[in-house]
Each structure stands twice: as C-alpha cells, then as structure tokens.
C-alpha cells in the first residue's frame, strides 16, 4: 500500500484537521472531530445532517456550507459514523427547525442514524438514498445502495432548506429527488482501505467490475474491459430502463478518485449521447470527483430527472468546499 499518510490510525484525524484548516472561512470541526458544521447557522432553519464512512470525499463534509448541509458526521474509512456523532452534531446545528438526516442506504448507516434519532431530543426526519441500479432489488432484500445521487439530494434539499422550506416538506422533496435519480458505477481498479493495507478486490490486467459499489463492493459482473462508448451504453441503458420516465435531466459523471478528468469528460461525451438516445435532454451537467472510493479508478453515471422546482434548487447558490457557484 502506497499512500500519503503518516499512519493508518491517524489518517482520518489528520485529514479532517487539514480540511477544517483549509476551509476555516466556511466551517468548523466539532469536538473530538465528531462532525463538521457550518460556521454560520441560520436560526430556525431546518438543519440538514448527513454523514457516512469516510473515503468518499468530498462527500459528505465537502458539502457542508451555505445551500447544502449544516453538518456532516465522518465515520472511519468506509464505516458508518456512530450515534454519538450525530447526537453531538444535532446539539449544535438544530436551531429550532428540527433536522433532516440524509442517509445512504446501508444497514450500518441506517441503524446508526436511527439510534441517534431515537436518542436525540430533536425532531428528526430521515431521507434514505438508494439510487444504485447495479444491484437488482428484490422484495425481501435490503434494497439498493445509495451512491453518487446522494449529493444531488443534498444539493436540492439544501437549497430548499436555505429558502425556508419546513422540515416535513424537505423530507417529501428529498424522497422525490431520490426516487427520480438513478446511478451505476464501473471500476477499473480497486481501492485500498488504509487500515486494511491490501486492495479490497483484485481485477485482472484487462478486467473491469461493472456495477461496482462505492466501497469497492463487487457489482453485477466482472468482464473484459470495453471501449468507453460501450460502457456508457450499458450503464445508461440500465439507468434508463430502471428510471422509466424521460425528460429533462441532470447528468452527473462522477469519478471514483483515480480516474483523470480527461477520461471523465470523455465519458460525459459518451453518456450524453446515450442519454439522448433514450429520450433525455441533458439540461444540467456535472463532471468530476464528488462521491469517491479512495483511489479507485472508474466512474459512475447518474441521471436525475429535473422539473422547474428541482432545477431551480440545483441552480441556487451554494458555497461548500466541494461545490460552489452563485456566490
């Protein structure tokens, strides 16, 4: 394992310290590094709190700031945060409007956020994101994984909260955005969890993992590497087939951390053409590393249907470490 670290035990703490120092103008690191919160809170506004395992940066702490999250609770690498973290965050950022938890659909995350909601004094509602179409759902299973679409939910709901939307409506909006968002990923190489020290999985010289998860979980199938155009075709077909509806959409090409921007833009070019074939109009675009898996090579594609309301919230000003426009 080759990483720019001092020791696996201190990676998260040192990285959070650097993050907080680099963005001291907009955020504050909570005691014992339990959470990152906005520097300036808006009294009465419903608070948005997310979090999850670390290693997906900029998700989630990179989306704390005006127009997005009020706080994010970073767990150990690929491990959900613990309830004390959310309880501590709630205590600081719930200024009377209650709080919305935005939680990716993993049992670890759900249970830890659930316990926090039960133990906390605040009024809490929860939006579960589950946009990954790679894993076919089955009625008795736990459903889909929450992946890159989560940041779209955070952006849209964040803008709505900023505009004064009350908690109950934010929950409805978040569920709606999630329901209209689908993603799928592909990996060309594995990631290595610092504390584990060895790659999470191994791919052959010419293999890719189609449908990979954001923790390096295996996907639909391991197959020979294909040209970018074919990869985009398969992924967009899976997304469109599952999404059903057509119309204006946001197309997010999300790098997993080890893929050059040059390739991500090339994938955008391919994915946009495929999306148009399926009847989508790519009304908004985002290309870059937003929901990563450490240094994994590969990317995910996400289509999120937009209407006037959600497009407006997407376009609204945002000022976070990982996403910024309009201010």
């Amino acid at each position: 394992m080759k990483k720019l670290i001092n020791s696996p035990e201190t990676v998260l703490a040192e990285s959070l310290d650097g993050f907080a120092a680099a963005h001291a103008d907009i955020l504050v690191l909570g005691e014992e590094r339990k959470f990152v919160r906005r520097k300036t809170l808006k009294p009465g506004k419903a608070a948005l709190i997310s979090g999850g395992g670390s290693g997906h940066e900029p998700l989630h702490a990179g989306f704390v700031g005006f127009g997005m999250l009020d706080a994010a609770c970073p767990g150990q690498v690929f491990t959900s945060p613990t309830p004390d973290q959310m309880i501590a965050a709630l205590a600081e950022v719930d200024t009377g409007g209650g709080a919305l938890f935005i939680v990716k659909n993993y049992e670890g995350d759900r249970m830890n956020f659930d316990m926090a909601a039960e133990l906390a004094g605040s009024e809490v509602l929860t939006v579960i994101t589950d946009d990954d179409v790679a894993v076919e759902t089955s009625t008795y299973s736990i459903g889909r994984r929450g992946v890159a679409g989560t940041m779209i939910v955070e952006k849209v709901v964040g803008a709505a909260a900023e505009a004064g939307m009350p908690l109950a409506d934010l929950k409805v909006l978040g569920d709606r955005v999630n329901a209209r968002t689908r993603s799928m990923g592909v990996a060309l190489s594995s990631c290595t969890v610092p504390a584990a020290g060895t790659p999470t999985f191994t791919l052959g010289e010419n293999e890719m993992e189609m449908g990979v998860g954001i923790h390096g979980e295996p996907g639909r199938r391991r197959v020979a590497l294909e040209p970018a155009g074919q990869i985009a075709e398969e992924m967009i077909a899976a997304i469109a087939g599952d999404l059903g509806a057509r119309g204006d959409a946001l197309l997010l090409v999300n790098g997993f951390g080890g893929t050059p921007l040059m390739e991500l833009y090339l994938m955008f070019n391919a994915a946009k053409a495929e999306a148009e074939k399926h009847g989508y109009r790519v009304a908004r675009a985002l290309v870059g590393n937003y929901v990563t898996s450490l240094e994994m090579a590969g990317c995910s594609l996400t289509l999120s249907l937009l209407d006037d309301e959600t497009a407006g919230f997407w376009d609204a000003p945002v000022h976070t470490a990982g996403l910024r426009w309009g201010m």
Partner: protein, 201 residues
C-alpha cells in the same frame, strides 16, 4: 458467581479474541463486504478494554450497559448498533448473578432486540445465525461453543439477505459471514472464562 475478577477476565478475553482475529475478520469482510469488520470490532473492544477497571467494578447489568454503550459509540458500521443492542438488551434482562437459565432467557430477549434493530431473521447469513443456535444450546444443555462454531461454518453455503453481502446476491454464497465468525469467537471467549457455562454454572 461472576465477580469483579471474572468480569475483568471476560472483557480481556473478548478483547483479545477481537484484536487477535481482526485480520481474519477483515479478510472475511473483504470477500463479501467492505473489509472493515475486524477493524470495527477491534476498535470497539479496545475501547471497552481501556475502561476495564471502571466497567468490571460495576454490577453485571451496569457493566453490560457500559459495554453496550461503548460498542454503539465506537464500533460503527452495522455491527456496532447490533452488538451494542445485544449488550444493552442483556443488561436489561440479566440479574446481577444469573443462572444458566437466566442467561438463555436473556439471550433470547437480546436476540429479539437485535432482530428489531436489524430488521432481520435467522437464515439471512448474519450474526443471528450464530446467536440463535447458541441460545438453543444454552436451553438444551448442549455445548454453546461447539454450536457457535458449527453455526458459523454453516453460514458458508447461505445466500446473504441482510448486510452488505446481500448486495452480492448469489456471489455471497461460499463465504463465511464475518459477523457470524465474530459472534462465534466472542462465545468461545466468554465460555473460556466462565468455563462452567456448559455445565450449568
């Protein structure tokens, strides 16, 4: 009688089991999960171990409550809330000086709490597939350690319905569930200290 020395020894044995098998548990979790189960359990039990003096001095129910709270706050992942819930439920159901019957009854209650927390059942390739046979062994007078080890092995052919391994569908078949393994290790550690468990004491 589970006195302070025994409580201390129990915590030491459980912590040693988790620390000593961290890499094995992580390897199991790399195969069908996200490769952190060993680290999660190690982190949690290291925190419990660090508090051993304080915890072991408490009456058994309070000690279990402290252990459960520490696990909830330190382990993270799916296993943190689940093992935490297990310990917290045992804390509620066990008297200060339990008999083997008390233990069996309390474990059944705690298993129900874990199921509620995890929205899960036996047969879904999780820690429950070890915990339930252990409860049955306690009830029937069989050896809980043998039951636990056998039950962990028996998760290998199962298809996961809960936990991260469920995302793999059929590809989860053929691997032991990491949480089942950690449960079996903990059961063995506890039995090693209590010794008498399997013969009524």
């Amino acid at each position: 009688m589970i006195d302070e020395a025994k409580k201390r020894a129990l915590i030491e044995a459980m912590a040693a089991a988790m620390i000593g098998h961290a890499e094995e548990l992580t390897a199991l979790d790399q195969a069908i999960g996200d490769g952190d189960h060993g680290l999660n359990m190690k982190r949690g039990f290291e925190a419990v171990l660090a508090d051993n003096d304080v915890i072991a001095a408490k009456p058994l129910p309070d000690a279990l409550k402290a252990i459960g709270t520490t696990l909830v706050m330190k382990v993270g992942g799916a296993s943190g809330p689940l093992y935490g819930t297990l310990a917290l439920a045992l804390a509620k159901e066990l008297p200060a000086d339990p008999s083997r019957d008390d233990l069996a009854r309390a474990l059944r209650g705690a298993i129900a709490a874990v199921k509620a927390r995890g929205k899960s059942e036996s047969g879904q390739k999780t820690m429950l597939d070890v915990l339930e046979p252990v409860a049955a062994a306690l009830e029937s007078g069989a050896d809980p350690v043998a039951a636990a080890n056998g039950a962990a092995e028996a998760t290998i052919p199962l298809k996961a319905i809960r936990g991260r391994a469920a995302f793999l569908g059929d590809r989860s078949i053929g691997h032991m569930d990491p949480g089942a393994r950690s449960s079996a290790l903990l059961v063995a550690a506890i039995a090693g200290v209590l010794g008498g468990i399997s013969d009524g004491g």
